[in-house]
């Protein structure tokens, strides 16, 4: 054999289409991964009308666990590409998405990023698409809570690192750009005691507090903000995480204004009904729509492009479709996924909480600014 040889992508019109899904089956983001794959399977079923086939060609899924580690994801991606896979999807974590995306570009295969929220994936290169929302869309939704921002004082409370940086930058651009003064309080992601930060926030007396915090310390953080009177003194906005996390907000939950990517009941589309019917448990959650949309995009790409990645890209660019959340559009310029976003309220107590939609933003209302395609 030759060391440079890779398996040929099947040009055979009846050969199965290989789709590689690299996502977190284990590791800290395993539950996001689980929703993603359930959503994907439901979406595939929906888009192929239950056949699992595009034309005569079966869609053959290969699932690989990356455990949230980019190195493992890259290995898996190379392995899949080497075996002739032309379509990669998955990436639960932003770090994974960012490192798999260049691999896809280098090898000219399609990559549809999953729940990873990082803005940097939008416009990363022409081979990279996304099936979920991005931080910017979160922030635009947050802005809708304060009406006219002119002259208002906004504080961002975010963890150190890229996720926090991205959110802070987005708030400065979106809300600061329309007249508000934006300042930030940052804390290490590993912090366990939040009183100093709560005190700093309180001292700043904001009109709106935007919180970008992911991780297991979130409940302690909310409790401290509540105890120190931050939640009752101002409008506090944050993203609504998966269902399992709702009870951890405790009493603080009802004092927060949530922006939401998705929760069960936020929409009542055909796709949502189909997804609900298909997934185990019958209750939709945060990242089911991402998997569902990814499958819809895969089917579209294969239907229009066959084995030709360039054609797949053409077929996806500018494509509008009805996803779980509602109408979605793959923006041709930078492959942002334009999609509706929601405002939500959390009610309930103990372990029993429900989210209700207060308002929904259309895709265009929540659209991120166009970025330049980098590669």
């Amino acid at each position: 054999g030759s060391p440079q040889e890779t398996a040929a992508g099947g040009g055979d019109s009846a050969a199965p289409v290989k789709v590689g899904l690299v996502y977190s089956q284990s590791g800290p983001l395993a539950s996001y991964g689980k929703q993603y794959i359930e959503g994907f399977k439901a979406g595939l079923d929906y888009a192929t009308k239950g056949t699992g086939k595009v034309g005569d060609r079966k869609i053959e899924l290969t699932e690989v666990d990356d455990a949230g580690d980019p190195a493992k994801a890259v290995s898996a991606a190379k392995d899949l590409i080497g075996k002739g896979t032309k379509i990669l999807a998955g990436s639960t974590a932003s770090g994974v998405a960012l490192q798999v995306s260049p691999i896809a570009a280098q090898n000219k295969v399609l990559f549809i990023s999953g729940p990873a929220a990082t803005d940097a994936i939008t416009g990363a290169n022409r081979y990279t698409f996304r099936s979920g929302r991005q931080s910017y869309q979160d922030v635009v939704t947050a802005k809708s809570f304060i009406g006219d921002p002119t002259g208002k004082k906004v504080v961002v409370f975010a963890q150190d690192g890229a996720f926090g940086d991205a959110n802070e930058a987005a708030v400065k651009a979106v809300i600061g750009g329309s007249g508000a003064t934006v300042s930030s309080v940052r804390a290490p992601a590993s912090a366990t005691e939040f009183t100093p930060f709560a005190s700093q926030i309180k001292a700043a007396k904001p009109d709106l507090l935007f919180v970008a915090w992911a991780g297991t310390t979130a409940p302690a953080m909310w409790q401290t903000l509540d105890q120190q009177g931050v939640l009752s003194s101002t409008t506090v906005v944050t993203g609504l995480d998966i269902r399992a996390s709702w009870p951890t907000f405790g009493a603080a939950g009802s004092k927060i204004s949530f922006l939401s990517h998705y929760f069960d009941g936020a929409s009542d589309t055909e796709a949502a009904k189909a997804a609900k019917a298909k997934i185990p448990g019958g209750t939709l959650d945060l990242f089911h729509p991402d998997g569902f949309a990814a499958a819809q995009m895969v089917v579209r790409a294969v239907t229009e492009g066959g084995d030709d990645v360039d054609k797949m890209i053409k077929a996806l660019e500018g494509w509008s479709f009805d996803g779980v959340k509602g109408p979605m559009t793959v923006r041709a310029d930078d492959h942002a996924l334009i999609q509706p976003m929601f405002q939500a309220k959390l009610t309930g107590s103990g372990t029993d909480f429900t989210a209700t939609a207060e308002k929904s933003l259309t895709g265009d209302e929540a659209a991120p600014p166009v970025t330049r395609m980098k590669g």
Binding site: S26, G27, S190, T192, F197, S199, P219, G229, G250
Partner: protein, 296 residues
């Protein structure tokens, strides 16, 4: 002014949490000479067992006596696991310190993964009495009751450990046993039992820390123990390995430093300061604050 009080008291709460985690670690490390990376697992076991008991154990619950019962169950579970670990895994490896470290590393990986396999990776809300969510006004500062609970618990644990070391023969046996196990046996003492006891106490302290940590964080998740462990290690080392009192001082220093720097300094500096404190203490006084090994 009230900010300073608030920061000081919450800093002490944090210190108490560090101490609770570190005390067991310090005891096991200082007395049994085992650098126990599985301590985080004991923590997790305590937290999850408390959580489980409060939902499933008859009589246990999130409030009042039920809560005490749940915590007691959690502590018992921590003791059980620690004793099993000592008997099955550590005992055959005494005097092979590096191997012991490896086994505890392996155990921490496997154990936490097992918790995750059983109860999932996501944080679960932790059942706790309503008053622990409230605050108490002290000199104009709203001090969280959970923090005060931690401080009280830490003081009790400190007192109990000191009493154990000072007034029982076990303290003596174990201190001697670390120096020379064989010679303790040659004096007619079953030193293995004493070491199992140290693990049991370490496990109990860890499980209590896990349960009270659950109260403090409001949630329980598989990785919680591990993330606290690194600070606990720092506390143990700064305090002088194996000195329980030293750990208490070190915990207070670390907790307050972190809290105040986080408020007055730029973000992230709190952690850096703690790490710097560790480096400075060790460079100036390699034996740590207390400077004496395996003492009360």
């Amino acid at each position: 002014m009230s900010t300073v009080i608030l920061l000081a008291l919450t800093g002490l709460g944090l210190a108490a949490l560090y101490f609770l985690v570190a005390s067991g670690l310090s005891l096991v490390f200082g007395l049994a000479d085992v650098l126990n990376f599985a301590h985080g697992l004991f923590l997790g076991v305590g937290a999850y067992a408390t959580w489980w008991a409060s939902g499933n154990l008859p009589g246990a619950g999130p409030d009042g006596f039920g809560f005490v019962l749940a915590v007691a169950f959690g502590v018992a579970a921590g003791v059980l696991v620690a004793v099993l670990v000592e008997l099955v895994l550590i005992r055959p490896l005494y005097s092979r310190t590096i191997e012991q470290v490896l086994v505890t590393v392996g155990l921490s990986l496997a154990g936490v993964a097992l918790l995750q396999a059983t109860w999932g990776a996501d944080a679960r809300p932790f059942p706790r009495p309503g008053w622990t969510r409230q605050v108490t006004g002290i000199l104009g500062a709203n001090v969280p009751n959970a923090g005060l609970l931690l401080i009280v618990a830490a003081a009790v644990v400190l007192g109990a450990l000191l009493a154990f070391l000072r007034w029982t023969r076990y303290g003596l046996v174990i201190r001697a046993g670390v120096e020379n196990r064989e010679m303790v046996t040659a004096l007619g003492i079953d030193v293995r039992r004493a070491f199992t006891l140290v693990f049991a106490i370490g496990g109990a302290a860890a499980a209590l820390a896990g349960a009270l940590g659950g109260v403090y964080f409001g949630t329980v998740s598989p990785g919680q123990g591990g993330s606290l462990l690194i600070f606990a290690f720092i506390v143990v080392v700064i305090g002088g390995m194996g000195s329980v009192v030293g750990s208490a001082y070190a915990a207070v220093a670390v907790g307050l430093l972190q809290q105040f720097v986080n408020y007055y300094g730029p973000s992230g500096l709190g952690d850096v300061c703690v790490v710097a404190l560790l480096a400075v203490v060790l460079l100036l006084r390699p034996q740590g604050f207390a400077g004496k090994v395996a003492t009360a």
